[in-house]
């Protein structure tokens, strides 16, 4: 009865199909846009190596860098095996 009355007076808030489309599209576009061209990805990797190598001795061969879009957000996920912490880095404070 309440529901009927609420509907009668337009109080039940249902998502319009426009809002539904917008919400779905928003998520899809976030994922679609989260791609880097292979060249840019390579550049990002080599710059990461350059910076990290100043502090850590890393294994470049097993390094993985990728964009993760499994949720509704985008994350840059990097797995970089460390062979050794450079002595001068460990001592610095």
């Amino acid at each position: 009865m309440m529901e009927f009355l609420a509907r009668l007076f337009g109080r039940v808030e249902t998502e319009t199909s426009r809002e539904c489309a917008k919400n779905r599209l928003r998520l899809v576009l976030v994922q679609d846009r989260a791609t880097l061209s292979p060249q840019v990805m390579e550049q990002l990797k080599s710059e990461l190596i350059e910076v990290i190598s100043r502090y850590l001795d890393i294994d470049e061969g097993d390094m993985r860098v990728e964009l993760d879009t499994s949720d509704s957000s985008v994350a840059l996920v990097a797995s970089i095996p460390v062979k050794e912490v450079k002595r001068e880095s460990a001592g610095a404070f």
Binding site: R18, L25, D32
Partner: protein, 267 residues
């Protein structure tokens, strides 16, 4: 002389690229400048049909690119609009018959003798797309207020940017003001919010487009066509005139027409 080359593209098929290209070309030519329309959809030629020129084709774009005939010889002049010409696509070939460099050279040579070169791009993001945009100074992205068309438009805008065709214009085609009004269709502002590009025009969903295509007469030539009016406005904006867009967003029902007759704008 060096004209401006504008590619009409969309990513998704069936959103009205060819109709838009034909009407923009005709609309521009009707207001003065000389226009060459180029059908870059090799293998799926259709621009000739929309313009009613399908029986006049002798040579095509691939013949020109391969050097079999001069570009001036392949161009077909429109029956009623003197300063509008069409370079038809080849029908029995495919996209690989032409390279981006060849299209670029062809576009450049057309720009020497026309004020505007309008290129009708094929759907998709493959070689046909890359060919069509290679010589373009600007791009018009056509979309409809549907999710799939908007998604593809977003992708195309990204690709245009990486191919150095900057600042594309957007045309929202087939808008249904009645559906927008009852929140069953995304509105133009929604699409701009997603795509973040400059709006060139809004074209209402209009039966007159189908009738015009049946007859081979572009809607811009029909004084009373609403879609035709929208394309005339778009042509005027391309030429740098300040024409308001709002009129196309009103529902075209009897009440709307009555209000218009009275000179009232409904909210």
């Amino acid at each position: 002389m060096s004209g401006t080359a504008i590619v009409v593209t969309s990513g998704k098929g069936g959103v009205g690229k060819t109709t838009a290209a034909a009407n923009i070309g005709a609309g521009l030519a009707m207001s003065g400048p000389s226009v060459a329309l180029v059908d870059a959809d090799i293998g799926l030629r259709n621009l000739d049909l929309v313009l009613g020129l399908e029986n006049r084709i002798v040579y095509d774009l691939v013949n020109v690119v391969e050097g079999a005939c001069d570009v001036q010889k392949a161009l077909i002049r429109h029956k009623h609009i003197d300063n509008l010409s069409l370079l038809p696509a080849a029908q029995s070939r495919d996209k690989s018959a032409v390279t981006p460099d060849q299209m670029k050279a062809l576009t450049l040579s057309l720009k020497e003798s026309f004020d505007f070169v309008i290129l009708d791009c094929p759907a998709g993001i493959e070689q046909g797309f890359k060919n069509a945009i290679s010589g373009a100074d600007r791009a018009i992205v056509v979309t409809t207020p549907e999710m799939s068309a908007v998604r593809d438009a977003d992708r195309i805008i990204g690709m245009l940017e990486s191919e150095q065709v900057r600042d594309p214009w957007l045309i929202v085609n087939r808008i249904r003001p009645d559906m927008v009004k009852r929140h069953d269709m995304m509105n133009v502002d929604d699409l701009i919010e997603f795509l973040k590009v400059e709006l060139l025009g809004v074209v209402p969903d209009d039966e007159s487009i189908i009738i015009s295509t049946n007859r081979g007469v572009p809607a811009v030539m029909e004084e009373r066509s609403r879609a035709g009016q929208a394309f005339r406005d778009i042509a005027a904006r391309i030429m740098g005139n300040d024409v308001p867009i709002a009129a196309m967003l009103e529902p075209d029902d009897w009440l709307g027409r009555f209000a218009k007759w009275l000179g009232i704008s409904r909210g």
